[in-house]
Symmetry: D2
Subunit: 341 residues, 4 copies
């Protein structure tokens, strides 16, 4: 059965990634593409790598005829989604890839510095970390995609948070982040000449907004406040996040817990104990590789997880959630192998 | 209908690319993977990006039971294929990705400096530039994959060679080549530290072996000797070849000829006159983008073609040919969209 | 003897490169740094790699006290220099790194689409390709730095233009250009995510403004109109231009001519016949490497030249010219070895 | 006064970096270059970026006439230096860039798995972390260069180890490493195609040999056993190490201690509290940038240090030490500004 989808924010990287995935998806059909500033242009002008596809031209989000649309992917800057989603017909399912529906009202206010304009939708939204929330996602009308960093770190830690295996008060996550997470917007620091040959930390000291997701999700699971230390670093790579998570706990027990948690997961690959994953081995795919190693210092464990921020960290996750919401096979269209080298 | 295939040389980049493509192919099944030096290892050790797949372990080519194999992909260093293919049961179809069957006996001797060990197979082999040789490929037992440079340039020039539109005695092709074309073998010049931040010409002055293919194919079409000038340059990119072909001829006529030649081709995309293609817009895909522009100097035309050397330039082309040989839809498994950014 | 210099446009890459070079120059002293939009900031905020230097804060160009300044480097967007230089005290020498004084009035109008606001200065300006214009530069008050592409190609061709050795009506120059030539301004096409893994031609068909310089310089030398064909291509490298120049002529004669022309030049290195230079071997330096090779097609010659666009192609050239204008040793401060790898 | 130096191991990256630095050094003169496997070749063949220099051809180390040599730089694989240095005339000063003299006999045995062949020299060697060992280096005959990782982390931590400001039992160092640290030797994992677009941890779990240096140096300062947790990660950059050191302590106090320790150091730049350094801002230079930030979790401090592994982490440090040993100004030849972009 074919489902018609609309993509709002189609001129950004996550919008293009949705199109890339859906291009070979067996049952999704792109019925509308919206991008306010590029409305009127053919998608092939904005993203020439998609020129072989027969796609609708870009329009304003308000110009779409939603009567034939089954599901909307909203890949918009934070703040815009909440207002727009509130205007959509109630019968349309929505997967939001932005930050607008990830947090509780308190969390949103804390990390985004504003009141939410659609608090009732905020309450209805289901947190979209698929592997840990399948049942709720299946029945949801509105699913909130996770932050890409948030996904990477949660795949490393979520099965451990309630396990009693690690010290919840001493979790340090050092991330290496490909630049596409910053999107296609113009910033001097994102110029090729500035990022090539460079590595640099940012949002240091606990200022990154994805911390809101960690705080809420980990505290909920643990039944107590959990605060992790989190520092992302930009690396000269387009796609990929690699999270090195330094824990206090026994490596073998941590490895056992992760291997058990992900034993039946199609997209989560736990490496043998002592091996570490590489960012280049997941690019272009919906897979997340997780490795665990101990240390010469007893009681220390390093968990490293890596995924493609545009795919498993955002648009792939969104399609995975859409598959569940539409009653399709969860992995439909998502078994694309990583591109290496 | 499922066809069982074996991949010989599965530990190289083109071998891994075959597996990547076949992973989501509707009717090909990998029955055997051979790599002499890595025999005994699981594929996931050699290429961890493929660890989610249920693949046979690597074996020696001689260990394969060919009785259930329908088609063999041979992705071997030149010289090895010709001996090996000669030993295969006659009923098995073969797509060779190496250089062993691309040339006539004379051409092979000239460019590879040795007599061929299987001249009868050499005679039987069909040149595998799919778009220009479909009928012969469909009925072939042995198809010779083209060189990756050879494919890129031929997509720019082949429709023009017999057209009378360009001066056949003044064709200059300047190529920019991603490094994966050099394979996974160890050379000092292929170290990251040597290639990063660098651009350098190589095989200059007419020494590159792919010239053998140009000489034979273009001369055959033209009915006279054609010799092009060809200089490849390494650029710090993993995948992709971009060929800038400087011609004497009228741009609009050249554009018309290319647009007409490729009007019905699923993988060949001709850009509007005056626009040039970009390497990043074809990576990870079987598409080839071609652009044509004139110059302020009248009578000059620049044709630029670009493709992914591992995919359309090698393994994607191989699967495209295999599809024809096996009676499947030519584009089966090959409509994967490029990965951008 | 110490000379006080001011740098206008110090917040751009060529401005920073001037500071880098002058940091270890024996007789130049930076007395003022101007950058209108960043005025008031310390240079270390704009370019943290220079934080070890004791530099004046950035000011508006109009705020500088020119009474103690011996020479001004103007590294400004085209159009701004001509107005500004006209306001400087006549006793101050000026090296302009922009496009404002490179062309004749006719050439400027043709390529920049506007009348020059300081035509008398335009007439006074000396073209700054040091190796071919030393005497005039020595006595000049105003020197016009060349385009970076213009420098690279002229080092390959200038000794050949009047030599009778090559066909002046069939010169094709295919350039591979590092991205820093586009400066620090914000363009979507200059984002890391867009340029990484990509090669793409631009300003195709004879639209690049540096053609104005070629036309004027080569025609002047030849005593007749000379028009070259010129296509630059962006490559994912920060610094460097590599020009592949396809000529009709004998390689040995061309090599002899270039070797003779540059025999006593400190910064021009001609490789043995048949060898090609690499971009990575000149980065961070004021050197230009030139290689010549013949082809299997007789009468064809490829000349490849490469230099660092920010150094020899711009700021290093500017310091070289300043050295001459101030009576210093021409290579003072410029013998920094390239940075490899 | 000019000092004659010989470089052993001149065909490696640290050898080339020594030549690059010495090329503009005011008082060092390269009298001999040795590289056993490349003996007989001109340096310009092995490193064409140095072709403008008038250098002696490469010879075997045993062929050098040491009678006129004042100081030897030994940039050799570990194990080779100890035997060779033992054969040099006693009057010659030696700066060893390898691992042979960094550790005590016990430490060497533990981390390199073999007894040292020149234990008396091992005892005589002075540890070459210049900023913390100046007096001993000044009078030394044999100075042991530090590991490049060891230098980076020690610049972040050494002033803190004996300060009482941080918990010595909970130091976690996550490093991002440019690939040139692996040298010019051939390894599949160091090919461009394998490293481009990738980030990957290595020597995980406490297996990296530079831990021997941390253990010895930090324990000596602390007067007790100190063991840090240390994980390096390869990033697709040629030069640079960026160390993110996670500490338990107060950020302002840590910042004060580092700022005080480095107040008079020419090469150590401490950023304002809360700012982090970038790898691209030290490349090509002998500078080390250090930043300190606190965290939303009280009592946590992040210290990030970055330097160029080939320069400050190896060859620049070696020249700095040689300057002290030869009675020259410590920073002679080393004030080269970083190359950005």
């Amino acid at each position: 059965m074919t489902h018609n989808v609309a993509i709002l924010g189609a001129s950004g990287y996550t919008g293009a990634e949705l199109v890339r995935i859906i291009a070979t998806h067996p049952s999704l059909r792109i019925a509308a593409l919206a991008a306010d500033r590029k409305a009127g242009q053919p998608m092939a002008s904005v993203f020439p790598h998609l020129r072989h596809l027969d796609l609708p031209d870009l329009v304003q989000a308000g110009e779409i005829d939603y009567s034939g649309i089954d599901l909307v992917f909203a890949a918009l800057p934070h703040g815009l989604s909440q207002a727009l989603v509130a205007t959509l017909p109630r019968g349309i399912r929505v997967v939001d890839l932005g930050a607008d529906f990830r947090l509780t009202p308190d969390g949103y206010r804390t990390w985004y510095g504003a009141d939410h304009v659609a608090p009732e939708l905020q309450g209805e939204a289901v947190y979209g970390l698929t592997e840990f929330n399948r049942d709720a996602i299946r029945g949801a009308r509105l699913v909130a995609g996770t932050g890409c960093n948030a996904a990477t770190v949660q795949f490393a830690l979520t099965p451990l948070i309630g396990s009693g295996l690690i010290d919840l008060d001493d979790i340090i996550c050092d991330l290496k982040n490909g630049v596409s997470g910053a999107g296609r917007s113009l910033k001097e620091t994102m110029l090729f000449a500035e990022r090539a040959n460079d590595v640099a930390g940012y949002s240091q000291g606990g200022r990154h907004r994805h911390l809101g997701e960690f705080d809420e999700q980990f505290s909920r699971i643990a039944g107590r406040d959990v605060r992790i230390q989190f520092t992302p670093h930009l690396v000269p790579v387009n796609r990929g996040i690699l999270a090195s998570c330094y824990l206090k706990g026994e490596a073998w027990a941590v490895h056992d817990a992760l291997a058990a948690a992900y034993a039946d997961e199609p997209f989560l690959q736990v490496l043998p104990l002592g091996e570490l994953p590489q960012m280049a081995h997941v690019q272009g795919s919906n897979f997340c590789h997780v490795g665990v190693t101990g240390d010469r210092i007893s009681g220390r464990t390093l968990v490293v997880s890596t995924l493609d921020n545009l795919c498993k960290g955002s648009s792939g996750q969104a399609v995975q959630n859409a598959n569940l919401m539409l009653g399709e096979d969860e992995s439909a269209g998502l078994m694309l192998a990583p591109l290496f080298p």
